[in-house]
């Protein structure tokens, strides 16, 4: 069966510090991968998606970047965090025309 791992679960970072969140999927190959952000009490905002190694599409221009160095690994990064980067970050995977499966999420607080 397929599983998705995301870490860390919680993170408190000062403004201006770098960020690296990692997500890996097991039990499948060539998944579509996604990073979503959810602000407190709000809906889901799609940040990045990837349909293959090295292929990244950005939905919202901002302070963040994503990379996919391996087939089942997706990384969300920032060189300098802003207060507005705080939120709940969710990694997800799916295949074409199917439901998405989510990781457990990372709660990021920028202070």
């Amino acid at each position: 069966s397929q599983t998705i791992h995301q870490w860390p679960a919680t993170l408190v970072q000062p403004v201006g510090s770098p960020l690296s969140l990692e997500c890996t999927v097991e039990g499948t190959s060539n998944p579509n991968l996604y990073w979503y952000r959810q602000a407190a009490g709000r809906g889901l905002q799609l940040l990045f998606y990837s349909v293959g190694i090295g292929q990244i599409s950005s939905e919202v221009p901002q302070n963040l970047s994503a990379s996919r160095p391996q087939d089942r690994q997706f990384i969300l990064s920032s060189k300098k965090l802003l207060l507005s980067d705080s939120g709940f970050y969710l990694c997800a995977w799916n295949r074409q025309n199917t439901e998405a499966f989510f990781g457990q999420g990372t709660r990021l607080t920028v202070v």
């Binding site: 809906g43 799609l46 025309n97 439901e99 998405a100 989510f102």
Partner: protein, 112 residues
């Protein structure tokens, strides 16, 4: 641009009552998904609706899809406190139909 609209966005209901959450979407799609999110937690898949007229039921929740009306409903029967959560609907979009566009979610509070 695909729009997915849920209503209501907030719902407070007493235990034992029935209610329906609506999900409208703006483009042609023959599949729709419902998710549940508990506070502070990730999203959990509830229902996958794959064709017009599809109906899925689990426990006190029943979801249906009308692709012609571009409408899905999530019906709650005899609500219990454990159903308190935020419910999202989502539709495949994008050129390859792999992205999901989510509604804003319906926060359901079931009051004892």
């Amino acid at each position: 641009e695909l729009k997915v609209e849920q209503n209501p966005l907030f719902l407070s209901m007493q235990e034992g009552k029935n209610y329906t959450i609506y999900c409208n979407y703006s483009t042609t799609s023959d599949r729709l998904y419902w998710y549940r999110q508990d506070p502070g937690k990730s999203l959990e898949s509830l229902f996958v609706l794959l064709s017009n007229g599809a109906v899925k039921q689990e426990g006190r929740l029943m979801a249906s899809l009308d692709t012609k009306a571009r409408l899905s409903t999530l019906h709650i029967t005899a609500a219990v406190h454990d159903l308190s959560a935020t419910y999202f609907c989502a539709v495949n979009t994008g050129a390859g139909s792999y992205q999901l566009t989510f509604g804003k979610g319906t926060k359901l509070s079931v009051i004892p």
